[in-house]
């Protein structure tokens, strides 16, 4: 962290589809860097002092909730935990995350996409008896390692970085995307979910599913939570190929 003040140049994509006649454009803002400044701090500063109409989404500002993914100098990432000091020349270009409906400027509707994804992979425990569990009794036991492995996949924060980095998704709008594969793998691993491989095949056994994936692994490269995309996608493909 250097103590030298420098002026940062932010080039930001601006477009408000709600506003009649508005056109997409890039606008440049200059602000003085502060020590420990993140893109979250910088954008709020710009909004408060230069342009109150600037739209972006932050919730936790701690890299936990997945709200703030955007393209920073060409790479999808969580803006809240990106320090401006990472960019040596002080030039920072921000674009909204592609692959999602644009709300305005840097704000995109990942929520809608993720709910649809959850519905599509039926992102819940399938067990006819789950609602009849007698919760006065000891819970069903689980192997501690299995619990840990499930958590590894459940760390996904639905930020959408993997979706935006995926070439297949660009060509196939209905492609489930890595986030969906990770979710499905999470339930496939969970002994509490009673779905069979055939049932999972119904969901991902086609070209909009795991067979459309070209395993170029943009997803794994950009996942801010380091989910094991490569291993899991390979695993799902093997499992599904076996059924096909």
């Amino acid at each position: 962290m250097s103590d030298q003040e420098r002026v940062l140049k932010f080039q930001i994509f601006r477009y408000n589809p709600q506003k009649q006649g508005d056109k997409p454009r890039m606008v440049t803002y200059e602000i003085t860097e502060a020590p420990g400044m993140t893109i979250f701090i910088a954008l709020n500063d710009i909004r408060e002092h230069q342009d109150p109409s600037l739209q972006f989404d932050f919730v936790c500002r701690a890299g936990i909730c997945g709200s703030c993914a955007m393209i920073v100098n060409g790479q999808p990432t969580l803006a809240c935990r990106t320090l401006t000091s990472n960019y040596e020349d002080g030039q920072i270009k921000l674009l909204p995350l592609p692959g999602f409906e644009l709300i305005g400027d840097l704000s995109v509707n990942t929520g809608k996409f993720m709910r649809a994804m959850s519905e599509r992979v039926e992102s819940w425990i399938h067990d006819a008896y789950a609602d009849e569990v007698n919760f006065e009794k000891l819970e069903e036991r689980m192997d501690p390692d299995v619990a840990d492995e499930i958590y590894e996949l459940e760390r996904c924060v639905e930020c959408g970085c993997c979706v935006s980095a995926c070439a297949t998704k660009r060509m196939r709008p209905d492609f489930l995307s890595a986030v969906g594969f990770m979710r499905l793998a999470r339930y496939a691993l969970d002994p509490r979910d009673k779905r069979s491989d055939e049932e999972f095949y119904e969901i991902i056994g086609d070209d909009d599913g795991v067979f459309g994936c070209m395993t170029l692994l943009g997803c794994e490269d950009y996942c801010p939570k380091d989910l094991p995309h490569q291993t899991q996608i390979a695993y799902l493909r093997r499992k599904m190929a076996f059924i096909r």
Partner: protein, 656 residues
């Protein structure tokens, strides 16, 4: 006018809101959830540490049960809580966690055999029992007698919220995202839903419902530096206050967490200390044992925060350009443990501080963290004054936390309150019909429309961002960890001025659709009112209790202050809220006020305390054969929905 009708309207898609929605849907009522953000991004996701439930499966939790959890919770609250509610809570929490387990939370599990752990700065070996293998495990947290905080590595809140939202999706519960409730609709003392602004189109919609539940989380962002999400601005509380009918309880009860990183205020979980981390000063000296020889770093949160502040005031802090701080040392836990059980902490240190906590100390300082105050409710979750309005979670003053909540008791509260209040919401839906007049709906709609139009046409006026920053600074400087009469009086006066100024906000960006400046302009006057409730309540309360610490009134004064603060705002043009009090009845307490066991006990006792103690002794003597359940029934008979009445099983102990 766009109107959407439903039975159960739930404002808030965090853990509490979703659980209430699930309960009313399960009982067959049409349910809609509103949220500022996608539900899974609610602030509940940020809870890292875990959830308290007395399962007693791990060896260090052996012997735990509802009684011990109850005692810890009441003590933690500094006897400010509602003991009926604390009772309902501790009895239901084990059920809540087991239900969540069935719904998919991958709780960390007990692993049989020897484990090396760090306790009191030393490595020790503990041995987990064979028969406990695979059950839900727990970690140590501040202010608890047993290891009771169940966790998923350090993503407890995240996994709980994901399981809860997934359950809601499974049940087809609609979550209307990017919607903000800005006013409640009410008529003749009954609430009928809310006026809601679509944050994308800017359109106002009336959501009309039989029962309305506010589960909008805390109001941490009244402070400039807070561990809370940027959306934790208390708007749900404010719209209840603005009815002039609903009351807010104990708004001055604000908790500061010992270990948020400096300067940004992001939290490092209490799990750091629970797992063995230490607090060190500028000399690398472990100072907590000097202040609290018994619980040390794991004293209750309010206590640790105050001790840290005292120590820094003695010049023992590490100076930095952002003021003094102390060190949190987790290096002694080792890489393996940190990378598995404290991984989010590690990520936060790497990204925001550029350090590796496996090798370096973390700069920390007490920071605003939790709002014990909120919408006052009965044990059913309903407002005692505005019928049909319910509240649950951090937004509510259901009041199991009193003046200080224990770590791990909050996410537990959200789910347990969601279950219990959810049943009462469903009861209410089945017992009441919707008979609100269209003119009432129109009245509220027009009123809110006019406020927005006024904002959009005003040419000159105040800047909402600046007003907010000024309010946050007042709260930081004058309504913080240690409080005194002089500062508080100034805060109250200065906030009055801001309140007036907030009536003349003008915008630079004058469009009605998605517009962050307009959002701010709608929220800031509401936030200032809440800040006034906090500051004024703090000024009036001339004692120290839990997180409310007065330098000019050091003692806890049960004689004069064993009561809950109730705040209303009847006249919108007034520049201060009205404050009244509700007594806590010692003669009904299962656990009469005593000492928390920190520092010197200088409590001014309530005259009823010895009476009640004697009465309890007599009841115990008269019923020598009574087991703990029968005794509780005699001392504190509580209402609890039928579904949740059963006893909880524990390993090696059955249902005893």
């Amino acid at each position: 006018m766009k109107v959407i009708y439903t039975d159960s309207l739930v404002i808030g898609g965090g853990l509490a809101g979703l659980r209430v929605a699930i309960a009313s849907m399960q009982r067959g009522f049409d349910t809609i959830v509103l949220s500022l953000v996608p539900a899974k991004r609610s602030h509940s996701a940020a809870a890292q540490g875990g959830m308290q439930a007395s399962l007693g499966a791990c060896i260090k939790g052996d012997g735990d049960d509802e009684e011990i959890h109850f005692a810890d919770t009441v003590k933690g609250s500094d006897w400010g809580c509602d003991q009926d509610v604390a009772r309902m809570f501790v009895n239901t929490s084990p059920k809540a966690i087991r239900q969540l387990s069935a719904w998919g939370v991958p709780w960390s599990r007990v692993r049989r055999g020897d484990h090396e752990v760090v306790i009191n700065g030393k490595k020790v070996t503990i041995t987990e029992k064979d028969e406990a293998h695979g059950l839900i495990t727990a970690r140590d947290f501040g202010g608890t007698k047993k290891w009771r905080t169940c966790y998923t590595s350090d993503g407890a809140g995240h996994t709980m919220l994901y399981a809860m939202d997934n359950k809601a999706i499974q049940m087809g519960i609609p979550v209307h995202e990017r919607k903000e409730a800005i006013a409640l609709i009410h008529e003749d003392g009954v609430c009928y839903g809310a006026i809601v602004r679509d944050l994308i189109t800017g359109k106002l919609i009336a959501y009309v419902a039989k029962a309305t539940t506010i589960a909008t989380g805390g109001y941490g962002r009244l402070y400039a530096i807070s561990t809370n999400a940027v959306i934790s601005e208390g708007i749900g509380n404010a719209i209840a206050l603005e009815t002039g009918i609903a009351t807010l309880g104990n708004m001055e009860a604000v908790q500061f967490h010992p270990t948020a990183i400096v300067p940004v205020g992001i939290l490092t979980t209490e799990g750091c200390r629970g797992d063995g981390g230490l607090l060190l000063d500028k000399d690398g000296y472990r100072f907590m044992p000097d202040y609290e020889p018994d619980k040390k770093e794991l004293a209750s949160r309010d206590v640790v925060s105050r001790r840290m502040t005292e120590h820094m005031r003695k010049g023992k802090g590490i100076p930095s350009r952002y003021g003094d701080h102390l060190w949190l040392d987790i290096t002694l836990l080792g890489r393996k443990h940190i990378e598995k059980n404290l991984r989010e902490v590690k990520e936060i240190c790497e990204y925001f501080l550029g350090i590796d906590p496996v090798e370096e100390y973390i700069p920390v300082r007490p920071t605003q963290h939790y709002s014990m105050g909120g919408i006052r409710t009965k044990p059913t979750g309903e407002s005692p004054t505005l019928k049909g309005l319910f509240s649950a979670g951090e937004a509510a003053c259901w009041d199991m936390h009193g003046f200080n909540r224990l770590g791990g008791n909050s996410v537990a509260e959200t789910v347990v309150a969601g279950m219990i209040v959810g049943e009462y919401v469903a009861d209410y839906c089945s017992e009441n019909s919707l008979n609100v007049s269209t003119s009432t709906i129109q009245h509220f709609m027009k009123r809110e429309e006019k406020k927005i139009t006024d904002l959009l046409v005003r040419d000159f006026g105040e800047n909402p961002f600046k007003l907010k920053a000024q309010m946050q600074k007042i709260m930081m400087d004058k309504v913080g960890i240690f409080r005194n009469g002089e500062d508080l009086e100034q805060a109250v006066e200065e906030l009055k001025v801001l309140n007036q100024r907030a009536k003349r906000i003008a915008l630079r960006n004058r469009i009605s659709s998605s517009n962050p400046e307009l959002v701010e302009a709608i929220r800031v006057p509401k936030m200032i009112k809440l800040a006034q409730c906090v500051a004024y309540g703090a000024m009036l309360r001339t004692e120290s209790r839990g997180a409310h610490a007065r330098e000019d009134y050091l003692e806890r004064n049960d004689r004069d202050w064993l009561k809950r603060t109730l705040t209303t705002w009847k006249d919108d043009s007034a520049d201060l809220p009205q404050v009244t009090y509700e007594d806590l009845d010692v003669m009904k307490m299962e656990m009469p006020p005593g000492s928390r066991g920190y520092g010197v006990d200088n409590t001014v006792h309530h005259p009823d305390t010895p009476k009640r103690e004697q009465e309890i002794e007599d009841i115990k003597k008269a019923n020598p054969g009574a087991d703990r359940f029968e005794l509780q029934e005699l001392l504190n008979p509580i209402p609890i929905p039928e579904k949740f009445k059963g006893k909880n099983e524990r390993i090696g102990r059955g249902f005893k």
